[in-house]
C-alpha cells in the first residue's frame, strides 16, 4: 500500500471560473441535446416542435455566450486546455490499448497496469478535443442556420446543416459516457460540481504526472498567481 493512500490534503483541480463555465455549459447543453434529438426525429405536433425549436435557440444562445465569455475572460485557461488536449505521446497509445483499465475493472473485476497520466487521461483528451472542435463547429454553424439561412449560399447552408447534425450527434453520444464516468470518479465529480479540490491520494492515483510536474504548494503559487 502506498503512503498516499489516505492523504486528504486538497489540491485545487478546477478553479472557480472553470466551474462556473462548466455549470452554464451543463445547463445549456442538456436541453440542447434533448431538443436537438427531438428536432431530428420530429415526433411532436406543430406547436410542440415550435416550442422545441424555441428552447433549442435560447439554450444555443446561452451556450454560445458562455463559450465566448470564457474564451475572452479566461483566455489563459483556454490555451492551457488546448496545450493539454493536443499533447500526444506514446503513453496515450498504451492507454488506449487497455482503455485506461476501465473495461477490465467493470467487466472482469481485475486491475491492469495503466500508463501514468497528466491532468487529463487519454480518453478525456480525446473527449476534450471533440468538445473543442465539435462545439466550435456547432456554434458557428448554428448561428448561420439560425440567423442568415436565406442570405448565405444555399449549398453552404446545406453543408453547415450536415456539419451541425454530425457534430451534434457525436457530442450527444459522448454525453452518457461522460456522465457515467464523471459520477464514477466521485472525487473529481465533487471537485467540478462543488469546491474545485481533489484529495491528494486521488490525484496521485489517477493523475500522477500532473501531481509530479505541475502541482506546487499554494503559498509559492500565490505569489505568482493570486
Amino acid at each position: 500500500m502506498h503512503h498516499n493512500q489516505h492523504d486528504m490534503r486538497p489540491i485545487q483541480k478546477h478553479p472557480l471560473n472553470v466551474r462556473v463555465f462548466h455549470y452554464i455549459l451543463l445547463l445549456s447543453f442538456l436541453p440542447l441535446a434533448a431538443t436537438g434529438l427531438l428536432l431530428f426525429f420530429k415526433p411532436l405536433s406543430q406547436e410542440g416542435m415550435q416550442l422545441t425549436y424555441d428552447i433549442h435557440i435560447i439554450a444555443g444562445v446561452v451556450l454560445s455566450l458562455d463559450a465566448l465569455a470564457f474564451t475572452v475572460i479566461a483566455f489563459d485557461r483556454v490555451v492551457l486546455f488546448i496545450a493539454r488536449v493536443f499533447s500526444l505521446s506514446e503513453r496515450d497509445v498504451k492507454w488506449f490499448m487497455v482503455l485506461g483499465g476501465y473495461p477490465q475493472k467493470f467487466l472482469l473485476g481485475k486491475k491492469v497496469p495503466v500508463p501514468p497520466m497528466n491532468k487529463y487521461n487519454s480518453g478525456q483528451k480525446l473527449f476534450g478535443a471533440c468538445v473543442l472542435i465539435g462545439g466550435t463547429l456547432l456554434i458557428l454553424s448554428g448561428l448561420v442556420l439560425w440567423l442568415v439561412p436565406h442570405a448565405a449560399p444555399r449549398d453552404l447552408v446545406w453543408l453547415l446543416g450536415q456539419i451541425h447534425l454530425v457534430a451534434g450527434l457525436i457530442l450527444t453520444a459522448f454525453l452518457p459516457v461522460h456522465l457515467f464516468l464523471a459520477v464514477y470518479r466521485f472525487d473529481d465529480f465533487k471537485a467540478m460540481m462543488i469546491h474545485g479540490n481533489v484529495p491528494y491520494h486521488d490525484a496521485a492515483e489517477y493523475t500522477p504526472l500532473w501531481v509530479e510536474q505541475e502541482i506546487v504548494p499554494v503559498t509559492v503559487n500565490q505569489q505568482r498567481n493570486k
Binding site: M8, R9, P10, I11, Q12, K13, F75, D76, V78, V79, L80, I82, A83, K119, T136, L140, V144, V148, A151, A152, P153, L156, I194, H195, G196, N197, P199, Y200, W210, Q213, E214, I215, V216, P217, V218, N221, R224, N225
Partner: protein, 106 residues
C-alpha cells in the same frame, strides 16, 4: 474538505511564454479563418445572378430588335389584320377572358 482552502494548486504557467503565445495565436487564427471564409462566401453569394443579368443586358444591347413595337411581325399583324393597337379586333383576339372557378375548389 468542503470549506477547507486547498494547500496545493497547479502552477498555471507550466508551459513557456513562447509556447503559450504560439498556441494562443494558432487558436485565434483558427477562429478567424472561418469568419473570413463565411464573409467572403456571403459577399459572393449573388455573383452568379449578377453575371447572368449582365449577360442578358449585353444580349439586349447588341440585339437588332430592342423593342417589341419595332418587331416587323407585329407591324405586319396590325397593318394586315388587327387594325390598330387597343382596337376592337385586337382586344377580342389578344385579351384573355377569365371565368370565376373558385366554387369548383370548395
Amino acid at each position: 474538505m468542503n470549506n477547507k482552502k486547498h494547500v496545493f494548486a497547479e502552477d498555471s504557467f507550466f508551459i513557456s511564454r513562447r509556447k503559450f503565445m504560439a498556441i494562443g495565436a494558432a487558436f485565434i487564427a483558427v477562429m478567424a479563418i472561418p469568419v473570413g471564409w463565411f464573409a467572403s462566401k456571403v459577399a459572393k453569394r449573388n455573383d452568379y445572378i449578377k453575371a447572368r443579368s449582365a449577360g442578358l443586358y449585353k444580349d439586349d444591347a447588341i440585339a437588332k430588335l430592342r423593342v417589341s413595337h419595332a418587331n416587323p411581325a407585329v407591324e405586319k399583324y396590325y397593318k394586315e389584320f388587327g387594325g390598330q393597337p387597343l382596337g376592337h379586333m385586337s382586344h377580342d383576339l389578344l385579351h384573355t377572358h377569365f371565368v370565376d372557378r373558385t366554387k369548383l375548389n370548395s
